[in-house]
Subunit: 462 residues, 2 copies
């Protein structure tokens, strides 16, 4: 343990600089214009795994972005840990809100990160958290303490639905065979209170298009006489929630699991301060589904949010036009038992049904994934908890997250093994937002904690 | 009359080429990036007035875009006609929907314009219609038939609210003194059936901003727990109309004049084919305020339309984000007696009132103008009707238009004279839309008809 701590201290500057180099490559998967950077990043990840000590690393071509696969086998009779992460990142826009360029990483101190945090797109989600595992392997190889076999699968489409990963996993079940899957792509409660994510929400993401007249029209000559696609789209979106902020799509809640009073009471124990929450977001009030509190609304309840909307004249000044078309990107976060393909179909049918005469409506499914819940009595969970307890001095709290990692459900289905979500980020790290950052403390703590997971997992597996 | 016809025939190619040169200058007033082209266009208009025979022309500086003023005085005791027009144009976007570049005019034949039409932004609204008056003056000077004095006032801010024109008119009442104001910035029913616009709608144009959290958020971690500005904006916009498509803003209809059954019966006489109307716009149905037909909805009734909306991620692919802000440009067409500043205030108050907790709302008034109705028994109206009757072979029909020319009400207030709206465009000319065009037939017919207005107006004024 001491050697681990001292190794991290001794090499921390190099660990930070290596991550900074990786963060400089704008591997945005949502925009094909960045494709070359995707390839460059995959190659950089491959090189880092070879350097860390994998004895076999390859870049696997897929129908989409390549997947980096690596492995280190010390004894086939020992357990195997499969590490999953992703090297692609969210788009950086709105770029003008970044206080420093998203792909020119800088270290700045913040109230929550007095030791400094690395500001860059992908610093936390997920390049930084993925790279902790590479450095943890480096340590275990260098110190001769790797207690089992390890495999790495680092993909480049997590932010756009992991379609190629599903394709890859289905075709490589033998190659990916493992005893536990380890992922750091979630957060923890605070730097003083670690937590392990035991639940994830599913996702259904669609794009809708409302078409009225066959061309943009003069709002004076036609205003009031034809359906305005923007007004109609607004009306349709508004109708997707009722006055209690329940989603109105027929059948949407049919398979939603209702938690017991006991389970909700257990959840309520997680430290949460509503005033600080509102203050951190400059909100005069919260908002959400009636009958549930904030920590339930963003974890155990399904939601529907518009992620983008556009139509008509959006330039400087005024244009008196009725647009021919209006568009929106809409996503639904789903909870365990809701099937994302079924929900996508329910949404599509409903959205087409509520379209008024005078417009045509198209719904284009983007991607989706299932929700997931993991038990807290598995060896993997216990090993992770023991590792956190040792490095943070307090046990981890099990938490249901509102985020989605669609492939976790896929792994259980295809690879028949459980996933342990060891997250080291914080909600305040602004992932998917301008000024995303990852604390130096969190980065190094992760590198320290991961080898302990290997140690205890192998011990408990005996 | 014959000499007029033959003069137009003889010089028509030059008339067309001169207009095409003017249309090549992208004088978009809504976007300051085009300011230099605004200046270039003003200078071109000035030169054309001097060439046509004005004995005094000047470019008048204003707080905004310059106004071109010109005059030809033959005898101070004779009546004076003031011609108004505008040299600025609407933005061309969506640029990708133009079949030829908006500022590279080309002549193409269409079903309605077998003799060809000039396709270019501003060809009809209003460079083409304004330029008819310049060429009509040229004819009257050349043929020595100008029967009275004439003044020209051509502005560069009509498409953004004519703010500087109001400023200019208030300060130059003596200079602009006239007996009748002549404007060609409206349309007529068809090339076989001329019409004179006797009513215009007023306008109130605002931009709204809804702000939720202080930064873009991850829709998984925050989805369902905070107000989503796009969902909220959609809800607020949807609530601005009730189930009968009446506008719900308190007081909105208080001053609206209700037309008598007789007046509505008179309006219903104007030729209109609903099937052709729907077909021309590819609409499976029309849409609008309950209790009124299409030709009433777009003329005698006030309306509210969203002209543009934007917020969140609108790029390629998917981004699971909750935007910090959402925006919309909203305009209301008003009818006589509705005061645009009062309506703007009513909208602003209402929109702020309906904002739910969890968001902040801002309303920024853009511009506006009053509606207008002109009598059909004035000398000006009669002279115009006689001129149309002579060139088209049938009398013109009085029509209430849905469009707005805010300055018409201003002229009556400041200059105490009536405006005659002699329009030669067609609704199908796609003004404010991609592929705006103006028929060669209409352009030349206008040049033929205008001198007859002067003739009869002076005769009847004796």
């Amino acid at each position: 343990m001491e050697t681990l701590k001292s190794y991290v201290q001794e090499h921390k500057n190099r660990f930070i600089n290596e991550l900074i180099e990786l963060l400089k490559i704008p591997s945005v998967s949502a925009d094909t214009a960045y494709h070359q950077h995707i390839i460059t990043t995959a190659n950089a990840v491959k090189a880092s795994l070879e350097k860390a000590g994998c004895d076999f690393v390859e870049i696997c071509e897929t129908p989409g972005n390549p997947i980096v696969y690596g492995e280190k086998t010390i004894d086939p009779t020992l357990p195997t840990v499969l590490v999953y992460g992703h090297y692609d990142v969210q788009p950086a826009d709105p770029i003008e809100l970044w206080t420093s360029p998203p792909f020119e990483p800088v270290i700045k101190k913040t109230e929550i990160h007095p030791e400094g945090a690395i500001f860059a797109r992908g610093s936390c989600d997920d390049k930084g958290q993925m790279y902790m595992h590479v450095k943890a392997l480096e340590y275990m190889i260098q110190s001769n303490t790797l207690p089992c076999n390890v495999k790495f699968m680092i993909e480049g489409e997590e932010e756009i639905g992991s379609n190629s990963l599903a394709w890859f996993v289905e075709r490589n079940q033998e190659k990916l065979k493992n005893d536990v899957i380890l992922i750091s792509d979630t957060g923890m409660i605070s730097n003083q209170q670690p937590s392990i994510t035991t639940g994830l929400r599913g996702l259904s993401y669609v794009e809708v298009e409302v078409t009225g007249p066959n061309r943009d029209l003069h709002s004076g000559l036609y205003g009031g006489a034809v359906a305005n696609p923007i007004n109609v789209l607004s009306k349709m979106i508004a109708s997707l929630h009722d006055e209690n902020n329940h989603v109105t799509i027929p059948g949407f809640y049919d398979k939603v699991e209702e938690l017991s009073v006991e389970e909700r009471a257990e959840m309520a124990k997680a430290p949460f301060n509503l005033e600080n929450y509102k203050k951190s977001l400059d909100l005069n009030d919260i908002y959400g589904e009636k009958g549930y509190v904030t920590n339930e609304r963003n974890s155990i309840r399904p939601t529907l949010d518009v992620n983008g909307i556009w139509g008509g004249y959006t330039g400087e000044g005024a244009k008196t036009v009725i647009a021919s078309q209006a568009f929106a990107k809409i996503s639904m976060r789903l909870v365990p038992n809701q099937d994302w393909e079924e929900i996508t179909e329910l949404f599509t049918q409903h959205f087409i049904n509520i379209a008024p005469a005078g417009v045509k409506v198209k719904v284009k499914p983007h991607h989706g994934g299932q929700g997931y819940v993991t038990p807290t009595d598995s060896i993997g969970y216990k090993a992770a908890n023991k590792a956190y307890t040792e490095t943070f001095g307090v046990p981890a709290i099990p938490v249901r997250s509102g985020g989605s990692i669609p492939i976790v459900a896929l792994f259980e289905k295809e690879l028949k093994s459980k996933t342990i979500l060891m997250g080291f980020g914080l909600d305040s790290d602004a992932i998917h937002s301008p000024n995303e950052h990852f604390g130096i403390f969190n980065y190094l703590k992760g590198i320290e904690t991961i080898p302990l997971f290997y140690k205890y997992f192998v011990e408990m597996s005996k």
